[in-house]
Amino acid sequence: MKRNWMKRQQLLGYLFIGPNMLGVVLFFILPAIYSLYLVFTDYKFMAPKMSFIGLDNVKRLLRDEIFYVSLQNTVVFLLAVPISIGLAFLVALALNRKLFFKKTLRALYFMPYITSGVAVAFVWMLLFHPKQGPINAILTSLGVSNPPGWLSTTEYSMLAIDIIWIWFMLGYNMIIYLAALQEISGELLEAAKIDGAKPYQVTYKIVWPLVSPTTFLLMITGLIMTIKTFGIIQAITQGGPGNSTMILSLFVYKNAFRYYEMGYAATISWALFFIIMLITLVQWWGQKRWVHY
C-alpha cells in the first residue's frame, strides 16, 4: 500500500515536471552540450567540412587582441552595476521616508527598467549626439568648452554606455532596496537615535549593514545580467567606434552571426561562462567579509 503510494507520487512528480523538463533539455541542456562539443571543432556555418582541432580555438582566443579589448570593455561595462546599486540605495533611503506622492515617484524611477532596451538606446543615441545633442548643449551652457564626443569617440563611448546602463538598472535596484528597508524595525533606528547617533551614522553603521544581503544579491544578479547583455550596444554602436564598445557577449555574437565562426564563437561563449562562475565564486567568498545575515 505504502509502496504503491510512493510509486504514484514519483509518477505524479514527473508528470508535473515532465513538460517543462522536456523544454529545458531541448533548449538548455542539449544546446549546452552541443556548444561544448563545438569548442573543439573549426566548424564554420555552410563550410563543406569540419574537423577536430583540439584546443586550437582556446589558443587562438588567448592570442586574440580583440578578446583582451573586449574583456577590458566588459569590466568597464560592469562598473555600472555597483554605481547603479549605490545610487539606488540613496534613492530608496529617501523614498522610504515620509514623502508625498511616494507611489508615483517610485513608479517614475522604475519606468526605464520595463521599457524596451533598444528603443531607449536610440533615444540616448540622439541625446548624446556629439555636435547638437541636448546633453552637450547643457554641458556647453554650464561652461564646458569642449564637451566629449560620447558615442562617436573611442575614449568616451564606454562611459556613455555605462551612463545608459546605470539609468536603466537604477529602478530595479531601488525597488529591491525599498523592500529590504521596509523589513528593518523602526524600534532599532529609534533606539540608535535616542542613544545620540546622527542620521548619517544610523545609515552607515546600522542600515547599510542590515541591507548587506540585499546588496550582495543585487551585485550578483546585476553583474550576471549585465555581462550577458549586448542588445543595446549592438543596436547603437555595433561595438564601435573601432572596438571601443566591443564587449565579450557582443564578441560572441559577431563571431557567430557575422563571421559564421561557430567553433570559435562557442569557445568565447564558454569563456563568458567561466567569468560568470568566477564572479559568483568571488562574491560568495567575499560576502563573508561584508555581508551580515
Binding site: 512528480g13 552541443y34 556548444s35 521599457t115 533615444v123 561563449s269
Partner: protein, 276 residues
C-alpha cells in the same frame, strides 16, 4: 513641531521629484521630438512641448509597406503564445518541485538552477544550428518554442507555492482529492496574483526581446517590434523625428502594461528577489 516635519516632507518630495523627472526626461524628449519639425530637434534651450504638433512622423511609422502594424502583430503573436505557455508550464513544474515529494526532486532542481548560470550566448550557436536543421530557423517558432520555458518562472512560482500552508492540501487529500485536482481546483485559484505577476514580467521580456529575434529571424515580414525599430532607424538614419516616433511606438505598449500592472510587477520582482 508638526509644521516643521511637514515642510521637510515637502523639501524631500521636491528633491526626489526633481531627480525622478530627470530620470524620465529621455522619454519626454522622445515624445516631444516625435511631434516636432526637423529644424526643432536640437533646439536649445530644449522646448519640452512642441509649438505645433506635427503628426507626419507617426503617420510615416504606421503606414506604408514597412508599417509598425506588421511588427506589432508579430510581437503580439510571439509574446502572447510564449507567455501563456511559459506561465502554465512554470506553474506545473513548480507544483511538482514544491508540493510533491519524490526521489531525485532536489537534484533535479539544482540542475535547473545551474542552467540559470549558462549565458544565452553559449546557447545561441547550437540553437541556431539545431533550429536550422529542424526547419524552424527564420520562423516565429524559433522564438515561441524556447520562449515557453523559463527557469526563472519555475523558480518564482515554486517560491509562491512553498508559501501556501500544507494544511490546505492535506484536508483536500483526506477528502479523497488527488494532486491533479488539488492543483487545478485549489492551488491555481490561490496563485492568481502570482500567475499574473509572472505573466506580466514574462510578457515584457518577450515584447522587449531583441537579441533572440536578431539571431533567429531574417525575413522583414517576420520582424518583431525591436527588430522593426532597428530596421527603421537604419533606413532613416537622418530622420530624427521619425526615429523618435518609431521609438515611441516601441515603448508605449510597455508603458501601458506598466501603468495597469505596476502593483503586480513591483510585487513580483520584489518577492522573487528578496525571498529567493
Amino acid at each position: 513641531m508638526k509644521i516643521i516635519t511637514k515642510t521637510s516632507h515637502w523639501w524631500l518630495t521636491i528633491l526626489m521629484a526633481f531627480f525622478a523627472i530627470v530620470m524620465i526626461l529621455p522619454f519626454v524628449w522622445m515624445f516631444s521630438t516625435s511631434f516636432k519639425t526637423p529644424a526643432q530637434v536640437f533646439e536649445y534651450p530644449v522646448r519640452w512641448l512642441p509649438s505645433q504638433w506635427i503628426w507626419d512622423h507617426h503617420i510615416k511609422v504606421w503606414t506604408g509597406p514597412k508599417s509598425f502594424g506588421t511588427y506589432y502583430i508579430n510581437s503580439l503573436k510571439v509574446s502572447l503564445i510564449s507567455t501563456v505557455g511559459a506561465t502554465l508550464l512554470s506553474a506545473f513544474a513548480a507544483y511538482g518541485f514544491s508540493r510533491i515529494e519524490f526521489k531525485g526532486r532536489n537534484a533535479l532542481f539544482v540542475v535547473y538552477l545551474s542552467m540559470m548560470m549558462v549565458p544565452p550566448q553559449v546557447l545561441f550557436v547550437p540553437k541556431f544550428l539545431m533550429f536550422d536543421s529542424w526547419g524552424i530557423y527564420n520562423t516565429h517558432w524559433a522564438l515561441i518554442l524556447p520562449g515557453m520555458f523559463t527557469i526563472f518562472g519555475v523558480f518564482m512560482m515554486r517560491q509562491f507555492f512553498l508559501s501556501i500552508p500544507n494544511e490546505i492540501s492535506e484536508s483536500a487529500f483526506i477528502d479523497g482529492a488527488g494532486h491533479i485536482r488539488i492543483f487545478f481546483r485549489l492551488i491555481m485559484p490561490l496563485a492568481k496574483p502570482a500567475l499574473a505577476t509572472l505573466a506580466i514580467i514574462d510578457f515584457s521580456w518577450h515584447w522587449n526581446d531583441y537579441e533572440n529575434a536578431l539571431v533567429f529571424l531574417i525575413d522583414e515580414s517576420l520582424y518583431t517590434v525591436p527588430l522593426g525599430l532597428q530596421n527603421f532607424i537604419l533606413e532613416n538614419n537622418v530622420d530624427y523625428n521619425g526615429m523618435m516616433a518609431a521609438a515611441s511606438a516601441g515603448i508605449v505598449p510597455m508603458l501601458l502594461v506598466f501603468i495597469i500592472g505596476e502593483r503586480f510587477i513591483v510585487q513580483g520582482i520584489t518577492n522573487s528577489a528578496v525571498k529567493g
